[in-house]
Symmetry: C2
Subunit: 136 residues, 2 copies
DNA sequence: ATAATTGCAAATGCTTTGCTTGTGA
DNA sequence: TCACAAGCAAAGCATTTGCAATTAT
């Protein structure tokens, strides 16, 4: 119901249109990591005239504004999710594609340390785990 | 001079052709992480008739045979390197594109632990650090 | 001999863009 | 009003593929 992304747009001065508002709503309500096609299908159920080009332009705009995050997991097309306050990484189920988010401060710290040891300031990183469910 | 990839092909029963032998040589001698276009240019200096399609098909074949590894770093096309005995991850200089390899056993262990805690067997992972050189 | 490989060009899949019309502040 | 956004179709880019000719074993 809430549309947190729309609020962030207002806060950041991102101009709103009907299309952007709807895409914002759909993304705000998503609990998964939809790709552009998924988003296009979802918004089209409400407004069938929104073009996929607009979805592409909008997710890019949101991403550049820091409102959503883009992920290029192995072998898939780009997926998006609302940017969260808490940084997190992803574990991808190689059988189902299911995505689980996780946080591990120890790994974060080690990454920073590794970069510094190599003479670099850590700006960004990408950590993805690929696994299969353990049946017990 | 040596062509370790060619040896691996023989060992694994990968059929060799002149084109594959040359691509193997160029990749064996590379100390960087070339993309398909780089490889095509390099082999073309020796045999200008090798098509880019063959380079694509060959790196794919080598990858499926476990002889080379493919990396999709952010914002770039796929890059390749000979698979090493020692697993390693990469730090990418966001200004120059320069790639530094590193190994960190602690991070490896933590990844396994994280996956297991979430009920998964860790099959594969991807860890990339993006940073900028610290000038001192 | 013959199944696999090559080169070429055409096709693909995802994403971006030019252009004209429509619209938010 | 008027700079910016949307829709459409065409273009772009990396990669794959169909097919006829060539080659490795």
């Amino acid at each position: 119901m809430s549309n947190e992304i729309e609020n962030k747009c207002i806060k950041k001065g991102v101009r709103l249109t009907d299309q952007r508002r709807l895409i914002a709503k759909v993304m705000s309500e998503a609990s998964d990591h939809p790709d552009v096609d998924d988003l296009h299908k979802r918004v089209n159920q409400i407004d069938s005239k929104i073009s996929i080009a607009t979805v592409y332009r909008t997710v890019k705009l949101f991403e550049e504004s820091g409102i959503v995050s883009k992920h290029d997991f192995k072998g898939n097309k780009a997926r998006y999710e609302q940017t969260t306050h808490e940084h997190h990484d992803h574990l991808i189920d190689i059988n189902t594609g299911e995505i689980t988010e996780f946080i591990n401060e120890d790994i974060e710290k080690l990454q920073k340390k590794v970069a510094e040891k190599l003479g670099y300031k850590l700006i960004d990183h990408r950590l993805e785990l690929y696994g299969s469910k353990i049946k017990k």
